[in-house]
Subunit: 153 residues, 8 copies
């Protein structure tokens, strides 16, 4: 399966959110690789991951980060691919810090922001499926099946 999504999280301590996202990517039949790289603690590696994502064949990048969640914006600054940001509720401020850091990008460099925490981690995968579906019929097929399944819940 082609790896179309690059998943980056800022810290190993975010793995429960990463797992939720991976679970939905699997469910939607989307290939992906996961990397842990902090925008603040390892900026060179993070920039490199972002800059090389496209030639590595990725078409969407999902970034998960908490607190002053610079990761999605920094990655978006180094690539032309669509970047989805998941703000995590991993600090005293319940994720409001991460939400505002991820969504309030200045004009020029957008991040496609989804909900705070686990619901957002799931939705990031589904949003990736919606984006990839404009190009790949198989992913669209999986997305349609998923969308049908949640109606019957």
């Amino acid at each position: 399966m082609d790896k179309r999504v690059l998943l980056i999280a800022g810290s190993k301590s975010d793995s429960e959110f990463v797992n939720r996202c991976e679970e939905y990517l699997d469910k939607l039949g989307i290939g992906y690789n996961t990397e842990y790289s902090s925008a603040h603690r390892d900026p060179e590696r993070t920039s490199q991951l972002a800059r090389e994502a496209e030639k590595s064949g990725y078409e969407v990048i999902i970034c998960l980060a908490g607190m002053s969640a610079a990761l999605p914006g920094v990655v978006a600054a180094h690539t032309a691919l669509p970047v989805i940001g998941v703000p995590l509720d991993s600090s005293a401020l319940n994720g409001m810090d991460a939400l505002l850091s991820v969504v309030q990008m200045p004009p020029g460099i957008p991040v496609a922001t989804v909900a705070v925490g686990k619901p957002g981690a799931a939705n990031a995968a589904i949003l990736a499926a919606r984006i990839l579906s404009i190009k790949y019929d198989d992913i669209r097929g999986n997305l349609d099946k998923y969308r049908e399944s949640i109606k019957q819940k």
Copy 2:
């Protein structure tokens, strides 16, 4: 030029934000149509616009709304296309109401949320360009030129 983006705003009073978004879509060479349709005041028409968007040839939908900004979520509920939501600061609460309404979508139906107000209206167009660029080389070319131009500012 093919119309790949459907732009929907909840109210004619949001036109200054719509104009900002259109200006960036033009700059990026992306064809679009603009509709005004309220999720709350005219729900049937809004659902219909969402349901017919795909067969009309649109590949991305941008929704702008203020206050209890249900528009992007309602549209996303009726289509499998990627939906970008722009929360508007058109109430006493400075757009915090619209931001939380747009971004906090429940698992299953994501909205790609961008910044509150005019910066978000610009970024919605650029995010649409990033998404369409995974499929259309001409849009990618325009996006690259735009990205280069903001560096020289």
Copy 3:
């Protein structure tokens, strides 16, 4: 007993809040039916429930929802009945997201919003009783007894 209230919750995971509301409707002698239907995951069924509520004999609709709580507003968009909205604290943001989504309705389509979470679930039932009391003397009698009882607490 006539079913005068239609109770709709967005998700089965909201059942503890639904139970609190049902307990108060029972206490006030008000007949009701409960449905689970998500505004985002199953929009057609939700609209249909809203559109048919009146001819099914309901006179008040209570909607409970968390996060980007579009349910009450979407239901209100499809009916002329009074709609009571209960914002739930089921996300990282403690219900502030749901509160602003439910209460900040644009001019034209009001939702009668009550408190966040369980106190609101109880109050939705009591508010339904106040509304129905303008027409039904038996419900008014029950409401008066209830109001007397809480004084003696």
Copy 4:
């Protein structure tokens, strides 16, 4: 025309909001009287207005107040009629103070809260029309006409 709605505002300085509400009550063909009475500066008169509202023939009470907006809750405490609360943005905190004061009623005494400020003042009138429509066909007719008119906007 029967006066079915009692409109109470906490202060003469809130008159621009009162006017907006009256304009919509007129448009919907609902008779009303307006009183200015502060829950804090003139509590006896306020309680009396609330206690006598029902025998004066009113069926819905609308209360507008800013800051620590106790008025709707205090009125609801003294009557069994449905009380609609409009939180006003008349302080440094943009109406967030009034919103939380009006909506966060403890279990037992609900206030039907609408949006902050002018949109809420309009919606209070429309919510009153929805409530009265369960009993009065003429008001329902007016409401239907109004709802149709906003679709064509």
Copy 5:
């Protein structure tokens, strides 16, 4: 010992906060009585407590309440005595609702607001001691001893 402070809480469920306040009143040698009376569920009794407080010999009133905490403001509306308000964190919104409801009193009727929750319950007693100390030397003596004791901590 003369009962100089009247302590009113809105609900029996607030007793842990009441106990904290009583503990500090005891420590400071201030006589008091405690009443439970809700501004919303039993407004007549609450008003009466407030109106009779002064002739009963009380000189300061302390009110504790959560959510839409109208109690301190309603009591202040019915008495000329200084009223101290303690906002309680007893809802989903962490006491921000109670804080804004208690402190944002309109011009004319002030409430002396202290911190949210238990620290505020302690400080309400100490503030009462500061107020009573302008008149009673024995309370001032106790206050001085208390103030000295916390330095040595």
Copy 6:
């Protein structure tokens, strides 16, 4: 007229709030002196004002401050007199910074906090009148007259 109230503001730029407070102190017949002294820029003078207030004959201290409004708490730390704090909306954050700084005092050193900005400046004077009224009949007389006057508004 005896000077019973010491009024301290952190900055000359707060004079419009100081004037509001003075206007109400005049109206209530309470003597006062006004000082400008910053807790942060001139801490020694501020502490000295606080420590000497009591022997100078003051019985209540009113402090007005914006931003990280340490003034009321610092003054309360150096005196046993009741200290009233007025949080000012003089920064980008609309006074929420000052409100939390003033009201959230730790156990041991309370500040009697009133509303943000001009309404609070007025209420600080009235709260001072309520406190002084437990001791001075003439101030109580003035307070009663004032309270009567606002009813007739």
Copy 7:
């Protein structure tokens, strides 16, 4: 080892945050002393600690405090040394109160504010290392080693 950092916390109950900071100061090879002194409960001792810090040889002061966290600002008012403030999440308001109290210092007296709670306690030590590194090569060496180590995580 020279003691270059003075660490002050407002309350013994903050010791878990103090320990985190000390752990990082140890890791970075920075000598320090820790004092507990409340700006509000023991203002004289707090001012004295601040005033004497420089002649005692300290070059950076770290202050940790919760609620209305006046400690860092009060210390900064009494010294010309750089003061780092750590807002603690020790109240109902999740540290938002402490954050705004610490960071929103008026022009003239800055506090170098770091993140709320434990992450901030760690970062205060690292910020002290960055500041001291402009003068001391050994601390710079330790800082470089630490910065390298977090990359390899």
Copy 8:
């Protein structure tokens, strides 16, 4: 005069804040250079400025940015120098977005955050003076004179 401070702002539109900071650096006799470089629109140049700052002789970096203010954190990630961050109120959310983005840095990479907007721009310069004063006596002399001058205001 040696240039010890590097001042970076994210956008030319922030120049009024930059000017305020420069005015205070001048007043304190601190040499500086100012660069405009966006962390999001021109990440390579921003990283390079940060990486080369130290060998260019700078000892403190001041970064000003609004919205999702990644600039200070990104710069801090690429240098071991102390970085001061000024959150700007240049969006609909009054600077709360920038404040949380700047201050809530994850453990490992601190940013010394000052107040939102113009007061923060002034304080950034003064904080730089405090930091440089641990090494340079002439700056300390200027700082002492400045601190004395604000007492006499």
